[in-house]
Structure formats: C-alpha cells, structure tokens
C-alpha cells in the first residue's frame, strides 16, 4: 500500500508538471509517430453499410497502443528514481512496448509472460530479448496473462524499493486504472478532434475491444462527455459465452469480485475461485476487466458485447483482404462486431488497437 500511495503522489505531481508533459509529448510525436491517423476504411464501410473510421493505433512504433502507456510510465519511473522496471504481458505487445521504452530510457527491464503465451507469441519474445529485456516464463495455472500479472505483483512487493511495475492495462489496484486511462486517453482525444475535422460531426458509436480494457478506456475517455456517442466494448466470447471457455466477464458475469487488487467484473465460481479465461487472442485472455469499465456498464454509459474466436478470425482475414491491413486478433473482435453483428449506424469509429503480424503463426495454424 505505501508503494501505491507513493505512485499516486508521483503521478499527481507528474501530471501537473509541464516538463513531464513536454518530454512525453515529444516522444509521442517524434518517436511513436502520433497523432495516429483516423482512416476512412471505404471497403469495410461498403460491407458494413455505413461509414467506418479506424483509429490507426497499429501504426504506432511497436505496432500497438501499448506504447502510449509504457512510455508515460517509464518516464514516471525515471522521475521516481526507479531504474528497475517489471511488466506482465499476454500477447507480448505490452512487453515489447515496455522493453522498447526501457531501451530508450536505459532502464533495466524484466517481463513476466505465461509459458503458453510465450509459445503462441514467439516473435514478440524474441523482440523483447533483442531489446535487452529478460523474459521470465510463468508456469503457474493456465500459464497466461492472469498468472503473468500475479508474478509481476509478487516481484513488485519483493523489490518495491528499486522497482516500478508498468502494468499494461487499466486493471490492478488504484491508482493504476486511472493512471493507464490518463495515458491512453490520447487515443480518444485525437479521434474526437479528427472525426470532427473530417466529418463535422461526432460518431454514433465508438467501438473497441476489451481484455483488461486499456485501448477501450482510452478511446471512450475522449467521448464520455458526449452523451450522443454510444460506447461499445467488445470482449472475447472465445468458444461461446454459453460455454465456460470465454473471456467476457463484463458481458456474461454479473458478479463482481477482487482480482489483482481491484474490485470489478470477474469470472469466478460460487466459492469465489477465479476461473481461467479463454480467447484465441492472448491479449483478451484475462478473467477480469478494468473497474472503470464495470462502472461504465453499471451506470449504463457503455455497453459490452462479445465476439467468438471464429468471428474474430473471419474478420482478421476479411479486413486484411479488404483494406490491406492485418489487424491484431484483439482488434479483430471489434471489427467483427461492426461487420457482423453491430447493425446499422450512421458513423462508427473503431480503435484498431494493434497490428496482427504477431498473430500470423496462430492464425495460419487455425486456418490449417
């Protein structure tokens, strides 16, 4: 707890410090390549029957939205005088983003990753190692994101004096969910200005995939005060939400619980044991979701739906052929919902949270 208080104080101070923002903005612009484009995907629009704009987070340096948060937190760690950085990763995107930020800022980097995820995201493991990070395999449980997150928390409580934990999503104990939202809201703020500039209006719907929910909370943050914009989070239905093999706690589980230090929607049995999530995409393979998403759901401000492995896979190949963009399997869930299930809309903005190169092996295997 004292570590969380220290982090919260440091974040409040950094947020109010123009020099911190100057450094972060400079890196976001010149290093990450922001602002990311808002692209009118004409051929997807044709299929969907209405205009669909993609917020191109896949074009960021390292290929996903994760770098926005990793750089912001790495700069924060530097301010706090912590030179050892730890992170958890599922798909490997957050691990790569953190390893990249640490290389740039000359910080030690240790990334915890489930051994199952290490197998299905081999290229990202190699990238992290090339960047100078140590990737530590986690064998416990289902050997995926949940266990990687637990391993990182255990490391943090052991080495808290020297170490900052760069959590990859808007989960975990306060202040993390708010901190990660603040660092990802650049997605929504940019998208709002861009859609107004391009179309002169706000979208009817803003749509993003939700694992922990960081790209979604970042997109939603830009539109949350615009009551007319519908906010839609797309979770992983895995093999179906009527089976136990999914990753859709916001859509399916009406019960709340405590996981990794936050009280939110989680997948649990009646004894309160946390269940294993399942998704074709490693980044959505998490049995919880950020507490702000649970609040947005319960307050009625946002709506949560789920898309199966099969539908996400179909959208992955379809969007690749239609647009010449290979989307991450995570983002493919949001695309699939708009193309297949979302029905009519006047104007949609989808967060294309990452590129799909990392998923090629997984997809090729599935497609046989």
């Amino acid at each position: 707890m004292p570590a969380l208080t220290e982090l919260e104080d440091a974040w409040i101070a950094a947020s109010a410090d123009p020099e911190y923002h100057r450094r972060l903005d400079l890196l976001l612009n010149d290093y990450v390549g922001r602002p990311s484009p808002l692209y009118l995907a004409e051929r997807i629009s044709e299929v969907a029957g209405h205009p669909v704009y993609l917020k191109r987070e896949d074009l960021n340096h390292t290929g996903a939205h994760k770098i926005n948060n990793a750089l912001g937190q790495a700069l924060l760690a530097q301010r706090m005088g912590k030179r050892r950085i730890i992170a958890e990763t599922g798909a490997g995107q957050h691990g790569v983003a953190t390893a990249t930020a640490c290389a740039l800022l000359d910080l030690e980097c240790i990334v915890y990753m489930g051994t199952v995820d290490m197998q299905r995201q081999r290229p990202n493991v190699l990238r992290m190692e090339l960047l100078g990070a140590s990737v530590v395999g986690v064998e416990a449980g289902a050997a995926t994101l949940k266990e990687a997150c637990s391993a990182a928390i255990r490391d943090w409580v052991t080495n808290v004096e020297t170490t900052h934990y760069i959590i990859g999503s808007c989960v975990g104990p306060a202040p993390y969910p708010a901190l990660v939202r603040d660092l990802q809201r650049v997605i929504g703020d940019e998208a709002r200005a861009q859609i107004l500039e391009k179309t002169g209006r706000l979208p009817q719907r803003a749509i993003a995939c939700v694992g922990g929910g960081s790209n979604a909370i970042g997109l939603f943050a830009g539109f949350i005060d615009d009551a007319e914009v519908e906010l839609i989070g797309v979770e992983a239905a895995g093999e179906g939400i009527d089976t136990p093999r999914h990753g859709a706690p916001l859509t399916v589980a009406r019960s709340a619980g405590v996981l990794h230090g936050s009280y939110s929607a989680i997948m649990q049995d009646e004894d309160g044991q946390i269940l294993e999530a399942h998704s074709i995409s490693a980044g959505l393979d998490y049995p919880g979701a950020g507490p702000e998403h649970a609040w947005l759901r319960d307050s009625g401000r946002a709506r949560y739906v789920a898309v199966t492995d099969d539908d996400a896979l179909a959208a992955f190949t379809q969007v690749t052929r239609l647009e010449g963009i290979i989307p991450a399997l995570e983002s493919s869930h949001a695309l699939a919902w708009v193309i297949e299930h979302g029905g009519p809309s006047e104007l949609d903005v989808i967060c294309l949270s990452g590129r799909g190169d990392k998923d090629l092996a997984e997809v090729l295997e599935r497609l046989g």
Binding site: M1, A140, G257
Partner: protein
C-alpha cells in the same frame, strides 16, 4: 465459549508459562494433498506440539504466496476441495488448539462477509487473516469479526511505514502477523538481519502478541526468530512441502520446530 481473541491470548500465555521461547503456529493448506490427508496433517500438527494452527483456505490466485503454497492451493482445488470442506477441518481440531483461518478476500466476499464470518464462528475458529485486505478496507471486516468473536489478525511488512504501523497495531486482534521478509511466502537461506528491528517496531505499536512468518524454514530459524523477540513463530512453506510425505513425516517436523523453541528458551 470464550471469544477468539481470548483463546489466542491464552495460547500465547500458556506457551510462555510452559517455559518456551515462543508459541509455535504451523500453517497448513486445507485440502492438500487431498482432503483426507490434510485432516490427518491437522491432527499431526496438534500431536506434534502446535500451540495454534493457521488453516489456509485454498484460493486460485494467492498473491502473497510463493510457488510452493500457490501450487498446493491449485492442487487442492483440482481435487475438488470446496471452501466449506476446507473450513470444516477447523471443527476437528478447534477443541485442541486455537485455529486461525487464512483466507484471501475474494472467497470471503463471494460468500458474503457476514455469512463467512458467521461460519467461522460456528466452526469454532478463533481468528481470521486476510492477506490481501488493506487497512483501508479493514474497518467493515473488523466490525463483523468483533461482533462474532473472531480475531481479525493484521499483517505488517518490513516496509510498513511508522504511521500506518501504529494505526494497524491499534486495531490488531489476537496477534500481529509480522512478515519477516519483503516479498512472498517461501523458504529462505537465512532470516533478515533487520528482523529484531521489525519485531521491535511491531511490538511498540500494539498490545497483542507479535508473531513472525514468511521465510522461517528451519528449526534454527524458529529459535532465532524467538530470540529476536517474536512471541510466536509461523512455519508454512517448509511444512506444506512435507505434506505429500504423509502425516508422520509432518508430525516429526513439527516436533523438531517445537523442540527448537523449547531448547531455545533453556539455552
């Protein structure tokens, strides 16, 4: 029936009156390696000389625990052990020694705080440790535990700042669980050299006994912890590791730890 705090206090006092340097509180993972074996292990703890027993309720995601106890929890759950099965072990030993249940927050909230604590009381459990319950969330739990005669035992770490320690010490019931290392449960080669300071700070913050756990791996460690000022010594991972070797092996290991606390006092 006397309330949990009183029974725990009596157990610490009795160990002291018996001439031992500290009370011995072995930890067990309820339901590991399976339910029947863990019942036998609970009995072996009593016969081996436990003054109190810490009964771990298996949880899928035990963040404060190292790999040995984590694996034991997962293994117990895989055999189908439910929270009620785990708690029921308390009833069998509660008449012999005070039982302190160790349970993570989520299974407690899943059942409902009041119902969970009520169940503990009806099984004769004396105390409750919730390793992932921060001080800020504790008052509601404390109120219900107090109403049911269950001692809510707080954990403090070497990194706990002075002000926070004072606040935790004031509302400690039963005993104060001092974490002997910075980090998770698990065996260590030696005790932290700062342990006497940590124990002294804990003692100054509270009127209840101060016990130490996390990292006590050998009988020598137990004697050293007592010499460093602990009123109680909690041994977890070393005994959980022995659980698969059967109740007799566990019993002689508990005897070894108990012996060290007896000899330590004489020496």
């Amino acid at each position: 029936m006397s309330n949990g705090s009183e029974r725990i206090a009596e157990a610490f006092a009795a160990a002291r009156a018996d001439g031992r340097s500290a009370a011995l509180m072995p930890y067990m993972m309820a339901g590991y390696p399976d339910l029947a074996s863990s019942r036998a292990i609970a009995r072996a703890y009593v016969e081996g000389g436990a003054d109190l027993i810490e009964l771990g309720i298996p949880f899928s995601d035990p963040l404060a625990d190292g790999p040995v106890i984590h694996s034991a929890a997962v293994a117990a759950l895989r055999t189908g052990v439910r929270v009620d099965d785990a708690l029921a072990i308390a009833r069998e030993i509660a008449a012999d020694v005070p039982v302190v249940a160790m349970c993570y927050a989520n299974p407690i909230y899943a059942r409902g705080l009041e119902r969970f604590v009520d169940a503990l009381a009806s099984l004769g459990v004396c105390g409750l440790i919730v390793p992932d319950l921060p001080m800020e969330e504790a008052p509601a739990v404390l109120e219900i535990c107090d109403a049911h005669g269950i001692a809510l035992v707080p954990l403090v770490a070497p990194t706990t700042p002075a002000e926070r320690l004072a606040a935790i010490g004031q509302r400690a019931r039963g005993f104060m669980y001092t974490v002997g290392v910075t980090g998770t449960t698990g065996e260590r080669a030696s005790l932290d050299e700062l342990l006497p300071d940590v124990l002294a700070r804990a003692r100054a913050s509270t009127s209840v006994p101060v016990a130490v756990g996390f990292g006590i791996s050998t009988a020598t460690h137990a004697a050293e912890a007592a010499a460093a000022g602990a009123d109680g010594v909690i041994v977890g991972t070393r005994l959980v590791r022995a659980a698969s070797e059967g109740a007799d092996a566990v019993k002689s290991l508990v005897q070894e730890f108990a012996g060290a606390l007896r000899d330590g006092a004489l020496g």
